[in-house]
């Protein structure tokens, strides 16, 4: 070993010593700076998990509210809003359940809050209850007619457009503008209170359209007529014509 060291040129020896010093410094410093739990569970600081888990909770969760607000919970539980958690409208409640006297939750009463969900937007899924707030009792607060904990409308909707605004809008500019919805759809009464469980009927046969569009009846003069046997015979009508905007 020593004899080997002696054979190394003088300048190389100096470099080796310098490199050894640098390496030693690195090896001494590294453990001082690396967090002791780094690498315990993977290539990260294990205690970071505890830091993240310790973040305070603000939304207490829908189950908690029931403990004190039993009546409201029961009412809401049987309504269309049963799946809407209390905190969606009333805001985060984690502090409130600790200090129920001082930390009061918000009670949104204005129209502008309800329309966050219920304003008509064409992007919203069909069947979700929507209104055009400009025309739906514009001067009234929503809560004068609807109890937010049981929002069933006080009377059944006067026309279908209340929920099916998108279709109504198309129909408004179509040739079918004067055809009432019930001419083609037979809506059971339950549909008005429980729309997703009870569906209205839809025509199933070409002949249904033919009733107006392939008729010899003189009262339908002015309505486009086709020969129902030869006009696109392999298809049902609504595969090509959108009935609400034919």
């Amino acid at each position: 070993m020593i004899s080997y060291w002696k054979k190394i040129p003088e300048q190389a020896k100096r470099l080796v010593v310098l490199a050894a010093i640098l390496l030693a410094v690195f090896l001494v410093v590294r453990p001082q700076l690396v967090p002791p739990d780094f690498g315990e569970l993977g290539h990260f600081r294990a205690s970071a998990l505890q830091d993240i888990v310790a973040q305070p909770i603000r939304y207490a969760g829908h189950e908690v509210c029931t403990d004190c607000h039993e009546e409201v919970a029961e009412k809401k539980g049987n309504s269309y809003h049963r799946n809407v958690a209390c905190e969606v409208c009333h805001g985060p409640a984690a502090v409130h359940i600790e200090e129920e006297e001082t930390d009061m939750l918000r009670i949104p009463r204005g129209r502008d809050f309800c329309i966050v969900c219920h304003e008509y937007l064409s992007s919203r899924p069909t069947g979700f209850p929507q209104i055009v707030s400009e025309s739906h009792n514009p001067m009234k607060s929503c809560i004068t007619c609807h109890n937010p904990h049981d929002p069933t409308p006080p009377e059944k909707p006067k026309d279908c457009a209340g929920c099916h605004a998108s279709i109504a809008r198309s129909k408004m500019v179509s040739h079918h503008v004067y055809v009432p919805c019930v001419r083609c759809h037979d809506a059971p009464d339950e549909h008005f209170t429980n729309p997703r469980m009870y569906h209205p009927t839809k025509p199933t046969k070409r002949e249904f359209c033919g009733g107006c569009h392939a008729s010899d009846d003189p009262s339908v003069a002015g309505i486009p007529q086709v020969d129902i046997d030869s006009h696109g015979e392999r298809y049902v009508c609504w595969q090509c014509h959108y009935p609400h905007l034919p």
Binding site: A54, V116, S122
Partner: protein, 266 residues
């Protein structure tokens, strides 16, 4: 010997992972003493007992989003900002909602004013929209996360229960992870100057609660749950719908599953 070990490991882990990565990792494991190798390797260690009776090794989390149920009310966005103290500015979101409007001529317009925080305005123009819908977005908690791959210091990592987290004490703010995320799910917190993102509300799910966005979704468009348990709403969701993930071509293997996702969504 070493090569054999690598091959053996690849077989066991059942993960699609490149040989090159394993090779680099093993070379590094030899080169750097004290390194613990691959960070995804599940370890049954008491370190994963995170909260009262919560053993992270027993869970694997994911989220389902049903596009047909989303009404674009933005309550998820608001709840997320509230729960996680995300700056109330239109530049920083852990989750946001996009609105897609597809016109008859093929033109697609996408918008997300303030991330959907204030819901959306009725459209004014007379454009011929043939399809329109909302898409909630968040961190996809990829099984093969590009953000974790590029973090130079080990400040972002994947937990055994499948959540991608950021250690804000250790993050140096280089923002490479933000560049590497294909989904725009990360941002730099303007005050802490560290990377931030959705944690699936890790502080909630480790205590048996659901993430704030899921808790606050009025239409249950978001379904949160276990991926490796049979009796889980998420597994049912995956069984009942045709499922898509975002940018599947990038092989990030997201754990946010979309039902009824349109081809235009990227």
């Amino acid at each position: 010997m070493n090569i054999l070990k690598i091959l053996n490991f690849t077989n066991q882990s059942q993960k699609r992972r490149s040989f090159v990565k394993m090779f680099l990792l093993s070379v590094a494991a030899i080169a750097i003493p004290g390194r613990s190798g691959s960070q995804e390797k599940p370890k049954k260690k008491s370190g994963w007992l995170l909260a009262d009776g919560y053993d992270a090794t027993e869970h694997l989390w994911g989220m389902g989003v049903n596009i047909n149920d989303c009404i674009g009310c933005g309550r998820c966005v608001a709840a997320c900002k509230e729960e996680n103290n995300v700056p109330r500015l239109p530049f920083f979101f852990r989750t946001w909602v996009e609105r897609y409007e597809i016109e008859a001529n093929g033109r697609v317009s996408v918008s997300s004013p303030n991330g959907g925080y204030d819901s959306f305005k009725p459209e004014l123009s007379d454009k011929q929209t043939i399809r329109s819908f909302f898409v909630p977005k968040l961190c996809n908690h990829c099984d093969n996360p590009p953000c974790v791959q590029v973090c130079p210091v080990g400040a972002t990592f994947k937990t055994v229960d499948g959540v991608i987290l950021v250690d804000s004490d250790y993050c140096i703010g280089c923002r490479y992870c933000i560049q590497a995320c294909p989904y725009g799910a990360r941002f730099l917190h303007p005050v802490t100057r560290t990377a931030e993102k959705c944690t699936f509300c890790y502080h909630r799910i480790t205590k048996g609660m659901s993430p704030a966005c899921v808790e606050n979704c009025p239409t249950q468009a978001r379904i949160f749950g276990e991926l490796k348990k049979g009796a889980s709403p998420l597994v049912r969701f995956k069984r009942m719908h045709n499922i898509n993930v975002l940018k599947p071509n990038l092989n990030t293997e997201p754990k946010v599953y979309y039902a009824n996702l349109d081809m235009e969504v990227s």
